[in-house]
C-alpha cells in the first residue's frame, strides 16, 4: 500500500468517526450531527493550532510551551476588534491609557538607546536607573487614573475600553498579528541570548499574558468575561424566525431548530476549513521551496548554515513568529466560535500540552500529520470520558451496583482523560516516534 493511500485512509478513518458520531448513537457516539459538527469545528481549530506548533517544532526544533498565551491573545483580538465600543470609555481615560503605554514604550526605547550608546560603567548604570525609575513613575501617574476612569464605567456591564465594532472575521487576522507581535518580543529576547531559552520563556510569558488578561479590566473586562461576541453569521434564533429560512428548512424536511443549528455549525465548518486549507497550502508551499530547504539546512546543522550565509537567529525568529501567529488566528477563531472571551479558562494542560500531544501523535515535521493529529486527538479528548465509563463498567461488571470501589472509579472517569492523553503520547513516542504521518 503506498504511503499516500495509507495516509488518505487515516484521514478517511477520522472522517468516518465523525460521521458515525453524527449518525449512530451506539457506544461512544452521540448520534447527533450537532455533536459531530461541534467536534469537527473544534477539531479544525485544533488542527490549525497544531499546524502552527508543527511549524515551530517540526521545521525549526523550537520548543514552544506557551501556546496558551498566543491562543489567548487571539481571543483578545476578537474582543478588541469586534465588540462594540464602550460609550464614553475613550473620553474617560482611553486616551490616557494609550498615552501611558506610549510613555512606557518610549522609556524602554530610551533605555535600550542608553545601553547601546553609553560606554559601560557607573554613569551608564546611574542614567539607566534614573531613567527607569522616572519612566515607571511617570507611567503610573498617567496610567492609574486613566484606568480607574475606564473601569468605573458601569463595571457590571462594561468597565473596559470595548472594541472597534468591526466585523468579527477581521478579528482573525488581527489575532494573528497580536500573537505575532508578542512572539516577536519573546523571540527577540529568548532566541537572542547566547543559548536558546525559549521553552522557559514561553512557559512564563504565556502565564503572564493570561495574568494580564485576567487582571487588566480596562482591556477586556478581565475575569468578568466578555460574553455575546458577534458572529460571522446569523444567530439560530434569528434564523428560526426568518420565514425564508423556515421555508427552506421545510422543503428539506428539517425541523427548524435542527436546521438552524446545523446551518450555523456548517457555516463555521466551511469557514474554518477554508482557513485551514489556506494555511496548509501556505505551509506546504513554503516547505517545498528554497525557503523550506533553508529551514531544513538550519535544522540539520546550525553552524554550517550560519557559515553559508543564513541568518539562523532571524530565521528562528521568523518561524517562531509565524507559528505563534497561526496559533493566534486559531485562538481568535475559537473565541468567535465560543462567542465569548473568558480569560479564566486558559489552562496550560488544555491549551499548551494537549496541542503538543496532537503534534507528536500526528507526526512532527509533517503538516498533514499535524492536521490529522489535531482532529483525531480532539475527538479523543471529547470521547475518552464515555469510553472510560464504558471501560470501568465493563471491568467492574462483577461488582455490586453500589460497591464503593465501583462508585469511586465511576466518579473518577473524568480523570481518565488526562491519563489517557498521557498514555497515547507515551505509546506514540515509544512505538511510532515519527507519528501517524511521518515526515518524508
Amino acid at each position: 500500500m503506498s504511503e499516500t493511500v495509507k495516509h488518505s485512509l487515516m484521514f478517511a478513518f477520522v472522517g468516518v468517526l465523525i460521521i458515525l458520531d453524527g449518525t449512530t448513537s451506539f457506544g461512544i457516539f452521540a448520534g447527533s450531527w450537532n455533536s459531530a459538527l461541534g467536534i469537527l469545528n473544534m477539531g479544525l481549530v485544533s488542527a490549525i493550532m497544531a499546524l502552527g506548533v508543527n511549524l515551530q517544532w517540526g521545521f525549526a526544533g523550537l520548543f514552544n510551551v506557551g501556546i496558551m498565551g498566543f491562543t489567548a491573545l487571539g481571543g483578545l483580538a476578537v474582543v478588541l476588534v469586534s465588540s462594540s465600543p464602550t460609550p464614553g470609555a475613550w473620553s474617560q481615560g482611553g486616551i490616557g491609557i494609550i498615552m501611558a503605554l506610549i510613555l512606557g514604550a518610549l522609556t524602554v526605547v530610551a533605555a535600550v538607546f542608553i545601553t547601546k550608546n553609553m560606554t559601560k560603567g557607573k554613569p551608564r548604570v546611574l542614567a539607566l536607573t534614573a531613567l527607569l525609575i522616572a519612566g515607571f513613575f511617570a507611567y503610573r501617574a498617567v496610567f492609574d487614573p486613566a484606568v480607574s476612569g475606564v473601569e468605573a464605567i458601569n463595571p457590571a456591564l462594561y468597565g473596559s475600553l470595548g472594541g472597534l465594532g468591526l466585523p468579527v472575521l477581521l478579528a482573525w487576522p488581527a489575532g494573528g498579528l497580536l500573537a505575532a507581535g508578542a512572539a516577536w518580543l519573546i523571540g527577540k529576547t529568548a532566541l537572542g541570548l547566547r543559548s536558546d531559552y525559549l521553552a522557559i520563556a514561553t512557559l512564563g510569558i504565556a502565564e503572564i499574558i493570561i495574568a494580564i488578561m485576567k487582571n487588566e479590566d480596562w482591556l477586556s473586562r478581565g475575569v468578568k468575561n466578555v460574553v455575546g461576541l458577534p458572529r460571522p453569521m446569523r444567530k439560530e434564533i434569528v434564523l428560526q424566525e426568518d420565514p425564508g429560512f423556515l421555508d427552506t428548512a421545510a422543503s428539506l424536511g428539517l425541523d427548524p431548530v435542527v436546521a438552524s443549528t446545523l446551518y450555523v455549525k456548517i457555516t463555521y465548518s466551511l469557514l474554518f476549513t477554508v482557513v485551514l486549507l489556506a494555511l496548509l497550502w501556505m505551509a506546504q508551499m513554503g516547505l517545498k521551496s528554497p525557503w523550506g530547504r533553508m529551514m531544513r539546512a538550519i535544522r540539520d546543522n546550525e553552524v554550517a548554515a550560519e557559515a553559508m550565509g543564513k541568518n539562523v537567529t532571524r530565521r528562528h525568529l521568523q518561524i517562531f513568529v509565524l507559528g505563534s501567529a497561526i496559533c493566534g488566528v486559531a485562538g481568535a477563531m475559537m473565541t468567535t466560535l465560543d462567542g465569548q472571551l473568558t480569560p479564566g479558562t486558559y489552562n496550560p494542560l488544555r491549551f499548551t500540552f494537549l496541542i503538543w500531544v496532537m503534534v507528536v501523535v500526528g507526526g512532527s515535521g509533517n503538516n498533514f500529520g499535524a492536521v490529522l493529529g489535531g482532529i483525531f486527538i480532539w475527538f479523543f479528548w471529547i470521547k475518552v470520558e464515555p469510553m472510560g465509563a464504558g471501560l470501568i463498567n465493563f471491568v467492574t461488571y462483577g461488582l455490586a451496583e453500589d460497591s464503593a470501589l465501583k462508585l469511586h472509579l465511576l466518579d473518577s472517569t473524568a480523570h481518565m482523560r488526562l491519563f489517557t492523553m498521557g498514555l497515547i503520547l507515551l505509546l506514540v513516542l515509544r512505538f511510532s516516534p515519527r507519528g501517524l504521518i511521518p515526515e518524508k
Binding site: 448513537s25 452521540a30 448520534g31 447527533s32 450537532n34 455533536s35 461541534g38 467536534i39 473544534m42 481549530v45 463595571p155 457590571a156 456591564l157 468597565g159 485576567k214 487582571n215 479590566d217 478581565g222 475575569v223 468578568k224 468575561n225 460574553v227 455575546g228 444567530k235 439560530e236 434564533i237 431548530v257 438552524s260 443549528t261 450555523v264 475559537m334 466560535l337 465560543d338 462567542g339 465569548q340 473568558t342 479564566g344 479558562t345 486558559y346 489552562n347 488544555r350 480532539w378 479528548w381 471529547i382 470520558e385 464515555p386 466518579d411 473524568a414 480523570h415 482523560r417 488526562l418
Partner: protein, 377 residues
C-alpha cells in the same frame, strides 16, 4: 400528554478543573433531588428521572459545548448547569438557546449573565453578585465598620462581587483601603496577606470560597496577626469554615442568600444521610435547580422545555404553599392537584426579573465556633 416514563436531566458541572473539588457535592445535590422525585413516583405519571453527568472542566468552552451537544443528542429535557459563569455563557449561547433547551445554573453568578438575551431559557438559583454587594455594605455600616480591606477570588464571581461591595460601601461613606485578588488553589497566600495587612482596615472582607483561597487567606491572616475579624460574603459561609479555623473566627460576620435556616438545615441533614457534604458551596443551589426543573415540568404537565420553561418562575415564587427540601413529593402532588406552590428549597429560592435568585439574605455571625443567624435582610 404523551408522557414518557423516563425523564433525562443533564448535570453539567466542572468535575475536572479548578472547581473540581466543589463539583461532586453539587452533582450529588442535583441527583439527590432527582432521586427524591423518582422515589415519590409522582412526576408526570410515575416517570423516573435519570441524571446524566458530563464535564465542563469549569474553564473549557470547547469541552463543555461538546458535552452539552451530546446531552441533547441523548435526549435530555433540561440541563442543570453550567457551573462557572464562563462556560455557562458558552453553553447557553451555543447550545441551549439555539436548541431551545432550558438551562438552570446553581452557581454562575456573574452579573453579565443577567443581561444576556436568553429567550426565557436561562435561570439561576444563585443571586447575581450585584445584589450581595448592597447587602454587605448595609451589614458593614450597621456594625459601625469604617474601613475595610477587600480581597476576592480572581474570577468573575469574586471580581464582580468585590466591585459591587466596593461601590456600595463607598457610596455609604466607607473606605476600602485595598481591593486585591487572590487566586484559588494556590496554597500560599503570604504575599497577598502581607499587602492586605499593610493597607490596613478595620476588618478584612474575603469575597472567596470557604474551602479554597478564602480559607487560605483567613488562615494566613490570623496566623500572621494581620486581621482578626473578617467579613464573609456567601461563598464563605458554611460549617466547614468555623470548623477549620477554630475559635479565632468568633466575631466575624457576613451574609448568605437565604430566607431562613429551615430549608438549609433540612437539606444538610438529607445530604449527610446520602453521604455527601451538603454545606459545600452551591450544593443546596444545585438541589434547588434540579427541583425547580422537575416541579415546572409537573406544573406544565410536560417535559418539553418549550412548555415548562415558562412555569419555572411560577413554581419558584409566591403565592403558594412553601416547599422545603425533602418535600418534593408533596409539591408534585399539590401541583398535580392544581394547587400553587412557592418553592423555598435549600437556598431560599426566590426568582426575580431575568430569572435569577432575588437574594434575600440572612446575616450571620460566628459565635462559639458556629454560624449563627442574627437577622434577615
Amino acid at each position: 400528554g404523551g408522557h414518557a416514563k423516563e425523564v433525562k436531566l443533564g448535570i453539567l458541572f466542572g468535575f475536572t478543573g479548578p472547581i473540581e473539588s466543589l463539583a461532586p457535592s453539587m452533582g450529588a445535590g442535583a441527583e439527590l433531588a432527582m432521586a427524591e422525585v423518582t422515589k415519590s413516583g409522582m412526576l408526570l405519571d410515575t416517570a423516573t428521572v435519570t441524571p446524566m453527568r458530563a464535564d465542563t472542566g469549569c474553564i473549557d468552552n470547547g469541552l463543555s459545548t461538546a458535552n452539552a451537544e451530546k446531552m441533547l443528542a441523548d435526549g435530555v429535557s433540561g440541563i442543570i448547569g453550567g457551573d462557572c459563569s464562563g462556560v455557562t455563557g458558552a453553553i447557553l449561547q451555543n447550545v441551549a438557546i439555539p436548541n431551545g433547551m432550558v438551562m438552570i445554573s446553581p452557581s454562575a453568578t456573574s452579573p453579565g449573565l443577567s443581561t444576556m438575551e436568553d429567550n426565557g431559557l436561562f435561570f439561576r438559583t444563585a443571586p447575581s453578585d450585584a445584589r450581595e454587594g448592597q447587602v454587605m455594605a448595609e451589614v458593614l455600616t450597621d456594625r459601625g465598620v469604617k474601613s475595610i480591606a477587600l480581597t476576592y477570588t480572581n474570577n468573575d464571581y469574586g471580581k464582580g462581587l468585590a466591585d459591587a461591595i466596593k461601590t456600595s460601601f463607598e457610596a455609604v461613606g466607607g473606605e476600602v483601603t485595598i481591593s486585591a485578588a487572590h487566586e484559588d488553589g494556590k496554597g500560599d497566600y503570604s504575599a497577598e496577606v502581607g499587602a492586605l495587612a499593610s493597607a490596613g482596615g478595620d476588618i478584612l472582607v474575603v469575597a472567596g470560597y470557604l474551602d479554597q483561597g478564602g480559607l487560605g487567606i483567613i488562615q494566613s491572616s490570623l496566623d500572621s496577626g494581620a486581621f482578626d475579624k473578617f467579613g464573609l460574603p456567601g461563598g464563605m459561609i458554611g460549617d466547614s469554615l468555623p470548623a477549620n479555623v477554630g475559635a479565632d473566627l468568633n466575631g466575624s460576620f457576613g451574609q448568605i442568600a437565604g430566607s431562613g435556616g429551615q430549608g438549609a438545615e433540612a437539606y444538610f441533614a438529607m445530604a449527610e444521610e446520602a453521604g455527601f457534604d451538603g454545606s459545600s458551596p452551591y450544593s443546596p443551589e444545585s438541589y434547588d435547580a434540579a427541583a425547580l426543573v422537575m416541579l415546572a415540568m409537573q406544573a406544565a404537565n410536560s417535559k418539553d422545555p418549550a412548555d415548562y420553561g415558562a412555569k419555572i418562575m411560577d413554581v419558584a415564587n409566591a403565592p403558594g404553599e412553601k416547599i422545603y427540601p425533602g418535600e418534593l413529593g408533596k409539591a408534585l402532588e399539590l401541583l398535580k392537584a392544581g394547587t400553587d406552590i412557592d418553592y423555598v428549597g435549600a437556598s431560599a429560592v426566590e426568582l426575580i426579573g431575568p430569572g435569577e435568585s432575588a437574594g434575600s439574605y440572612r446575616e450571620i455571625e460566628v459565635t462559639d465556633g458556629a454560624n449563627k443567624t442574627v437577622q434577615f435582610r
